[in-house]
């Protein structure tokens, strides 16, 4: 779901659609990181005070490599830095720890020149050794960070050229080599963590890197102070910071589980900003304090992602081979194997109405897999409209019509149009399943809804045993690579292509684009791919989400940039600072 760890691209993540909506707001808080020329030169008067934020749950741990959740990223965003990051307005890469970089013409060799002035918070300079150490730790099979490591599986090596120069060499030309090499790894100090990585993971050694959960040292503008489980996490300004200092002395995250309570804490001015969900946006949009004590921001961010209905394009059959072993053979799905049926399903779902009534018109109807504000997105492609007649026509063409006048559609053999729609019980809102079931019943399609627990749900996905499901992908970043979800390589081995979408043209476009280093040519390929997905409708693309945020009027310099809102630009004037965060009156 979240995309902060690597600032640009991260594996699109799977979440139940409704869950996503809640979390999507949070994600927005993560992305939108600047640290560029957009961070102002704060005057001494502007500096000081505490920024008070919240989290709905706790991070599992605060280890920048083994921590996996968005909460860990929310905190470590300020503690760690990367070699390069995207400029929040131009979306171009610019140096963070690296001063400049060179990419070989074929894109396989990326050389970074580090800033000589960069320091960790303990005063040690950031050197090529630290970069190589971080790379080696990430790719070390003994370290629990396989998901990050998977991005480096085509990376041949990362080597030190001199103290301030480091070189990544990749096996294949790939348009993301610069992004992955430079922006995926948070740079760790070798002199601090080397002994922890070397420690024996097998023995119950508490010093092993995997067991370190907090107190990490980085080169970012803030340092970790303390974490009281269930209560708060505190960061303080890094007094040794090598770059432009940020405005706040401290950043405090309070853990507030209940949404009502967090909104009230915000309205009581105990919090300075709060990501919210569409239903809260709707409730607060006419609040009398809006504009006086708080402002509301609604914006798009590459972390937003989208929700979708996935139609299983294949049905698997187990065959026992002559040697007794079992093999699963994919056959086209009897219903959704036909693209006409999939498109008809899209025509039969009134996405605009659902967006309006369930999501308070926040977000937009999605047409494809790319972030709508990315150059990859083909703006010409319009969503298929809600059109019952067209839907029924397509179904008739595919052989589905009410042959025996019983109100249900049948195929040529008389088999009823009936399928199972699987939902995860952790999805929360049950309005959507009921609404869709009823909508399809009215046109003669029988939907059997089935609710199962999340851990069983993912098992069904792995085994590809479902007809239709609703899920969401987290944002794939500014420029994402559709390979993991849409290429036929991702069908086997329980890859992300769990609907078994197999299309030779799509494979060709994905593979060609991956090796295409010219952004203009790549964009053309991705636009073609976008149109192909639209035509094929392997998913019914549902809603591309947006970020919603409340920010207190105490905070100055709140800007919405192309990647979202960056809190490192913020400051609070002296007269508006609180001595203490709201105690007993």
């Amino acid at each position: 779901m979240a995309d902060t760890m690597p600032r640009g691209f991260r594996p699109p993540a799977l979440r139940v659609a409704v869950l996503c909506l809640g979390a999507a707001a949070l994600v927005a808080a993560l992305l939108g990181p600047a640290r560029a020329d957009t961070v102002p030169d704060f005057t001494p008067e502007q500096m000081g005070g505490t920024l008070r934020r919240t989290m709905t749950a706790e991070p599992q741990n605060l280890n920048p490599l083994t921590g996996k959740d968005i909460y860990e990223r929310l905190v470590n965003e300020f503690v760690y830095e990367r070699l390069i990051i995207r400029h929040p307005d131009t979306l171009e890469f610019e140096g963070q720890l690296a001063e400049r970089w060179d990419v070989s013409p074929d894109g396989r060799v990326v050389t970074f020149h580090l800033r000589p002035e960069a320091r960790f918070s303990d005063g040690h300079p950031v050197t090529a050794d630290d970069v190589v150490f971080t790379y080696e730790t990430v790719t070390d099979p003994k370290i629990d960070c396989r998901s990050l490591a998977s991005y480096f599986k085509d990376c041949r090596k990362c080597e030190k050229i001199d103290d301030l120069t480091v070189r990544y060499t990749w096996k294949e030309p790939y348009f993301k080599t610069l992004e992955v090499s430079g922006s995926f790894n948070p740079i760790l100090p070798k002199h601090v963590y080397e002994k922890h990585v070397r420690a024996d993971p097998e023995s119950e050694d508490p010093k092993h890197f995997n067991k370190l959960v907090q107190g990490f040292i980085g080169s970012g503008p803030y340092t970790f102070v303390k974490w009281t489980t269930g209560q708060e996490i505190v960061l303080a300004r890094n007094t040794n910071y090598w770059g432009k200092p940020r405005a706040f002395d401290r950043i405090v995250y309070r853990i507030i589980v209940d949404t009502q309570a967090s909104v009230q804490a915000f309205l009581a001015r105990e919090l300075d900003d709060l990501p919210i969900t569409p239903d809260w946006w709707d409730k607060l949009k006419d609040h009398e304090e809006r504009g006086k004590t708080f402002r509301m921001y609604r914006y798009a961010s590459p972390a937003n992602g989208y929700s979708y209905v996935a139609w299983n394009n294949a049905k698997y059959r187990s065959v026992t081979k002559s040697d007794g072993s079992e093999e699963r053979i994919a056959e086209p799905h009897p219903i959704f194997g036909d693209k006409r049926v999939r498109r008809a399903m899209t025509h039969l779902i009134d996405r605009k109405q659902i967006l309006k009534h369930l999501y308070y018109d926040i977000g937009q109807v999605a047409t494809g897999t790319f972030w709508p504000h990315s150059p990859q997105h083909d703006a010409e492609t319009q969503p298929w409209p809600y059109d019952r007649a067209e839907g029924m026509r397509l179904l008739k063409e595919a052989g589905w019509e009410d042959r025996d006048r019983d109100g249900w559609l049948e195929d040529r053999t008389g088999k009823r149009f009936s399928f199972e729609w699987t939902f995860s019980t952790s999805g929360g809102d049950t309005r959507l399943p009921r609404l869709l079931k009823e909508a399809f019943r009215r046109v003669g399609i029988e939907v059997q809804t089935r609710f199962i627990e999340w851990s069983v749900f993912v098992l069904k996905l792995d085994r590809r045993e479902f007809d239709a499901i609703i899920l969401g992908w987290g944002g794939g970043g500014v420029e994402s690579d559709p390979y993991q979800i849409w290429h036929s390589d991702a069908i086997a081995d329980q890859g992300h292509n769990f609907i078994t979408f197999r299309n030779a043209e799509a494979d060709r476009l994905i593979t060609t684009a991956r090796a295409e280093l010219d952004p203009a040519k790549r964009t053309v390929l991705y636009h073609q791919f976008h149109r192909l997905l639209h035509e094929q409708q392997p998913y019914t693309f549902f809603i591309a989400r947006e970020s919603l945020r409340l920010v207190s009027t105490r905070v100055e310099n709140v800007n919405v940039r192309r990647v979202g809102i960056d809190i490192e630009e913020w400051w609070i004037p002296k007269e508006k600072r609180l001595k203490q965060g709201g105690g007993a009156p």
Partner: protein, 354 residues
């Protein structure tokens, strides 16, 4: 008496085995793989191949590798083998438990990073027990006088009003009451009062003086405690009322009245004392509940207590935490039952154990 206690203690063992075995079997035999689901949910990624190694490492740490039931699709495994594996897994848990090794949590950790279930429960006990003790004291000190007064003035206005009022309170679900309390009395709400809507401390509480700190804490616990108290009143008040009424009808009360004792003395000296006896059972049986904590109240007010730990563990099927909790609550409940029986015999000379 001594043999009776010994017998009861010995009987606790098979009961506990039954409770833990059942819990273990339910957690382990349910389909799906919680280890993989957890890793994937956290990482926001679903490709199990990427995480297979990590999941294996976690299973190894949790001692689940030998008799792995998770991750296997129940439709593709022999049910007999499945059951046998569950029994072996349970045996392994018992063997470790006897040596004091309760394993580690896969989801939770304490402030200092410990994952041992005992440390997790202990950390939260510091929060849950004081809260519950205060709530129970308030419940007792309000409910019993109300109950006794309604018995004393049976059928009068006070009796009827309190019955209706308590019944109403009892019927309000905590989730609604909590939200209403925050909305009406919490800061940032309707604004009738300014109680803090969440947490137990203000930020910056670590720099406060002792008095300020205590006041701040009391200020924070007011709403959660109100939410814990209101529902418990009805039951106890009704119990007190019934008990006093029964005693007021008893022969010895009639005798007392007949010999011309003033009514006050009859009620407060004779009847009241005897009607408090059943309260002992209630009080002792509340001991395990003191540790239980209330999930709903904890969730609404963001309190880091034992209720959310138990439920969170059950939701993510965090085996070691669930098992430790089962053992803890099982033992406490059985012990409380025993203590209640002993106290009963001690207070009421008519009760004798064979």
């Amino acid at each position: 008496m001594r043999t009776y206690i010994l017998k009861r203690l010995l009987l606790m063992i098979p009961t506990l085995v039954g409770i833990t075995l059942l819990t273990y079997a339910i957690v382990r035999l349910a389909p799906g793989d919680p280890v993989a689901a957890m890793i994937r949910a956290q990482a926001g990624d679903i490709n199990p191949r990427v995480f297979a190694k990590e999941a294996d490492a976690i299973r190894e740490r949790l001692g689940l590798t030998d008799y792995n039931l998770w991750g296997e699709d129940p439709e593709h495994i022999d049910p007999a083998e499945y059951l046998v594996n569950a029994f072996w897994g349970y045996g392994r848990w018992v063997a470790h438990m006897v040596r004091g090794d309760f394993g580690e949590s896969m989801k939770f950790r304490t402030s200092d990073g410990s994952k041992s279930p005992a440390a997790l429960y202990l950390e939260r006990a510091h929060i849950t027990i004081p809260l519950n003790v205060i709530a129970e004291i308030i419940i007792f000190s309000i409910a019993i006088p109300i109950g006794l007064a309604s018995a004393r003035y049976r059928g009068k206005f006070f009796d009827r009003a309190s019955t209706v009022g308590l019944l109403l309170l009892w019927s309000i679900p905590a989730i609604l009451a909590g939200t209403l309390l925050i909305g009406f009395l919490g800061r940032g709400g309707i604004g009738l009062w300014a109680f803090p809507p969440s947490g137990l401390h203000s930020s910056g509480h670590d720099t406060m003086g002792r008095w300020e700190w205590t006041l701040d804490l009391l200020w924070h616990v007011t709403l959660p405690i109100a939410c814990m108290v209101y529902g418990g009143l009805a039951y106890l008040a009704k119990l007190g009322r019934a008990s006093l009424l029964e005693n007021l009808r008893a022969d010895y009360v009639r005798t007392a009245r007949a010999k011309g004792l003033p009514e006050r003395r009859v009620v407060y000296h004779h009847a009241l004392r005897n009607s408090l006896i059943p309260m002992i059972t209630v009080m002792v049986m509340m001991l395990p509940a003191l540790i239980g904590g209330s999930v709903i109240v904890e969730k609404i007010f963001s309190i880091h207590g034992m209720g959310t730990l138990v439920v969170g563990a059950a939701q993510s099927r965090d085996l070691s935490v669930i098992m430790f909790g089962t053992l803890l609550y099982g033992t406490l409940t059985l012990a409380a039952l025993l203590v209640a029986d002993i106290l009963y015999a001690w207070v009421d000379p008519r009760v004798r154990f064979e």
